[in-house]
Subunit: 218 residues, 2 copies
DNA sequence: TAGATTGTTAATCGATTAACAATC
DNA sequence: TAGATTGTTAATCGATTAACAATC
């Protein structure tokens, strides 16, 4: 599965381990390309693209080179085409369904946030233990009791779990969703989750972000 | 200012450029130490500390070594003392005041979030353009009209701005707060801010986090 | 003291940037 | 064609990990 003929570029295969930073930049490029598209700009060079991001043009070219050849020497990249390719690489050239677990302040904000839908994500359901929250609709999500977690994840074809519960139940919830096939978790809980290999967790730690800013004061 | 005698460890001076990743890990260590303290554990080795974080013990020691010598060979680190030192390094051994600009869904969630207060942050004020929001109190913050931005930042001794406005006004707001002395911005807006040297911006980009997770599906 | 663990230097690893032949 | 820009290799830079003398 991981040792395979080294020769080919393997445009589509997930052959070499792609650095996580590359994947994040790809998503960033996609957004810049979206903006360019809206301005009716059809072509862009790696230099121009990099300037929008405060980065190095060589990095843009190298990031893309992990996945294939998308440009034209002497010309640059075609905006619409490159964006389509990146969306395909990121697997967001289709509707991806996510669910929020924990409908507290943060959970509600995430459900009401419109930025996800813009990239093709749908959040049809959310879960909470509070009977007062169950039954409500926030954004486009219906709030369901956490008892129905497994059943509803399957029913709605959920692929990503957005975790916004308190610290205490976080690991138990993670265990449950992983047991029913979830492999991607966006974790807002300040707790390190222990997960089996093959499950990917992205941590968003608001306190760390704020506290580490304080270091640069004065 | 940046070339100085290389000899000494310079425990307190911000001498060498400390990698941003080191600062973030320091904040992470602080939280683990806080948990250990609550369990009445008084001593901890770099090995134990690193296990709580899924990291390398040498990295823990090296991170701390940027700032001084806090451990005892053969013993390890004293939990309470090390935590106090880290808080001092991070400049969070005092009350740090922040303000939220933009009281939409995300802004409200951040104001209601209790995790910041736990680390000594206070958010006494927030700003919005909507007259229906102005005058309300969310969490411990009073919502003020954005016209009063400069005046109120000075009045309340605000040091960090948490930016949660729409994309369009983000740069203009940043310019205004920087002009009145702010040097640290926590930016939730998916827009690259152009700021003068000396101003530190941390980006939290929810869409990028979610979209880059999709890559690991299937 | 013997055992354990630090602080720090050296080795390794990986990511970023520069350079340039290939090519439109 | 001449000019521009890609894709890719090589050079540089920085961060992580290993190793070990110093020391409690």
């Amino acid at each position: 599965m991981e040792d395979r003929p080294q020769g080919q570029a393997a445009e589509d295969g997930a052959a070499r381990r792609i650095p996580k930073a590359v994947i994040k930049r790809l998503s960033l490029y996609s957004r810049v390309l979206q903006n360019l598209e809206m301005k009716n700009i059809t072509k862009v060079s790696s230099k121009e693209l990099s300037e929008h991001l405060g980065q190095n043009p060589a990095q843009v070219r190298k990031d893309l080179a992990y996945f294939g050849q998308f440009g034209t020497p002497g010309v640059g990249y075609y905006v619409a085409e490159l964006r389509a390719q990146i969306k395909r690489i990121l697997r967001t050239d289709r509707e991806v369904r996510a669910a929020v677990v924990g409908v507290g302040n943060l959970g509600q904000a995430l459900l009401a946030y419109t930025g996800f839908a813009r990239e093709g994500f749908r959040i049809p359901i959310a879960f909470d233990t509070d009977p007062l929250k169950v039954g409500r609709t926030i954004g486009s999500a219906q709030v369901l009791p956490v008892e129905e977690l497994e059943e509803r994840i399957r029913q709605y074809g959920i692929e990503i779990i957005i975790l916004a519960v308190p610290s205490e139940p976080a690991q138990a919830i993670a265990d449950r969703v992983i047991r029913c096939g979830i492999t991607a978790i966006l974790n807002f809980v300040p707790t390190r989750l222990v997960v089996p290999p093959g499950v990917k967790v992205h941590y968003v730690d608001l306190t760390i972000e704020l506290e580490s800013l304080a270091y640069y004061l004065k």
